[in-house]
Amino acid sequence: MKGLRNYLTRIKPNFMPGGKYSKLQSVFEGFESFLFTPNTTSTTGVSIHDSNDSKRTMTVVIVALIPCLLFGMYNIGYQHYLAIGNADAGFWNLFLYGLAALLPTIVVSYVVGLGIEFIGAQIRHHEIQEGFLVTGLLIPLICPINTPLWMIAVATAFAVIFAKEIFGGTGMNIFNVALITRAFLFFAYPAKMSGDAAFVATEPVFGLGEGTVVDAFSGATPLGQVATATTANPQITNIVGDPISTLDAFIGLIPGSVGETSTLCILIGAFILLFTGTASWKIMLSVFVGGLFMGFIANMFPSATYPASSLSPIDQVCLGGFAFAAVFMATDPVTGARTELGKYIYGFLIGVIAILIRVYNSGYPEGAMLAVLLMNAFAPLIDYFVVQSNIKRRLKRVKTIK
């Protein structure tokens, strides 16, 4: 590695101000610090530092997403081969189909997002920061597999520019960038984002998975079926009409956005995040508590007008994007509540509002995305009150002494 190190040191002057490629200074420094931890030592204050930095933190989140990613790929293939009536095509066929179907989305999301980040960093003469590494993987995981690539590109560009860069970049955004991407897609191209055609890849990809869709096929997600149901206790089925149990939903072999279907893989990710101390258990736990609480209340008063009210609280947290939002979206420290007490309130309200929207607003079969975005907006307010209580305690101390 010394050779590479020396090579970088040698070409570095070209990228510094005045050099041939000074316009690429941020990009160069970004790659340099990616390859080699900078040798900067502390000049003031502490002489020793913890090894953890924000690159490591982001890496941990990506590692935590990998189970969802891999399972998501497999499930894309599984749903596809199920749809063409060939569900026994073998593990590798299923997985490779999913990989081929998802990879372009991942590439587009990273290329567009990182490209904008590079330009933004150069304009501000900042180091390139690693926030988008996580966002760039979250975006493919929360979008339906059939989202056209140009839509992903447009939505990612919109989110990175208007939800992040104009606020000052990584760590400064008010709303979760990945969810802004999703919300942009959802409201700009509703026809492509919901309904039967969005969630199951039915076309062959790169020659993989040739076949015609079986007659009984319906690509609606479980929550989509519930939302459009006309009876009080709708029977949820998979894409070829067989019933789906809570266990199926927990394992994740159901149609849905790529990363959200498997509650099991999400829980593996949650374990990684919590064990490493990367995400707040307070937020995660309270989102689930809030969701179960609201699911329980809704289930106490089932109504034919709101068919989703007949789902049990467990089904509510296993189906749709709820668990994914609880583990990966709500716990985003930048956009969430930052005080310890605030985290409980913030998480609980996300859980409650997600189920509230899901059950009582039949226009949206899923509420997790909107719940997190809504609470992103309220997180500073929650923190404000927690901070005020600390201030009041301090003022009260003065009064009791005098």
Partner: protein, 440 residues
Amino acid sequence: MADIKIKKGINLNLEGAIVDAAIADTRCESYAVVPDDFTGIVPRLDVKEGDKVDAGSVLYHDKACPEVKVASPVAGVVSAVVRGERRKIEAIVIESDGSGRVKRHDVNGDVRGILLESGLWCAMRQRPYDIVPNPAVKPRDIFVTAFDSAPLAPDFSLLLKGKEKYLQKGVDVLRSLTDGDVYLGCSPEWVPDLKGCVINTFAGPHPAGNVGIQIANVKPVNKGEVVLTLDAVTLARIGELFTTGMVPFDTVVAVTGESVKHPHYARCTMGCTVASLLGDGISNPDNCRIVSGNLLTGSRVAADGYLRFPYRQLSVITEVRNSADFLGWASLSPKRFSIYHSFTRWLLGRGKPAEFDAKINGGERAIIMSGEYDRMLPMDILGEFLIKSIIAFDIDKMEQLGIYEVAPEDFALCEFADTSKLPLQKIVREGLDKLYKEMN
């Protein structure tokens, strides 16, 4: 007496701890006083180069408060006044003449006046602002910490062995400075038997030994109040001054850190050269960082530099261990220390001491992770919000969030653990200085 449990914070278990409590003697000819050590004093020199001084003679006083004085630790000749940019005094160097002459003080009189004249006043600090105390203000209480919980810090029971009577005298003297109480914060392992003061024990990890943490858990400082803070070593010196009439300038220093071949205690005089303490006892002299004090709050000194206030610890570590650290952020090496489980070090268990170098291990970022400061700051203070208000210099918010209760050292562990790698102690110090200017 109360037993207080501190839950937040962490005891860093580092390489280079002292195993043998024997105290070695050292010899040194050159000494220095560094005005930066006595925050809050704008120095006005009372000596010039070539002047003869005794141990205890006044070297300089404060511009605003001329009765606040700093004394020479040895008898000899002022050999140099080192000046930096804009003629700022960086050090006053004294060559010892070996005579050992010590200035005697008449100790029957006003305690405050004697402390000021002796220079020991400058070894105390006041909250708010963490500066040398303003002698015109009567403090609400006086807080003394009787242990140092910082990494590799010296054991106070050893530094103060045989000095119990001076400690008692010190407490008696200090009581006359306040209408409130003298509080002594001890570790559960060593509680000196003293009368006339309120003794509390603090169990738990660093920063339990920080006097600011002790105040916050006993009787926090409110706006408009002033408390004096000092450590028990200074308390014993005050007691000795009022017993013998002379300030003891000798000190015991813990020479620690993984680059020190044989970590040990050394007896010396305040302000002696670092070289006289280290000799050739460093394993990697070309790539080491010498810190006077502990690794969290100490000042970096050159190999030909001088021991700095509070004159009780020297830490030496490697500056850069691996200059081409390929994909360091992806490392699975258990050698890397982190309070997080995202590194594999936890597999080794807590017993194994950690090796550090001076690398920041990352780039400066916006404050991304939340709650990081809170878990290292055992005070009823929202660290992150206070830091943000200081950066924005929003005086109202700073006051409301408790700026008067904190000192830079209280944020040292936060700075260590901070994923965003912000210089928190510097931020707090500059915030306090600006606030002081604004309010006075």
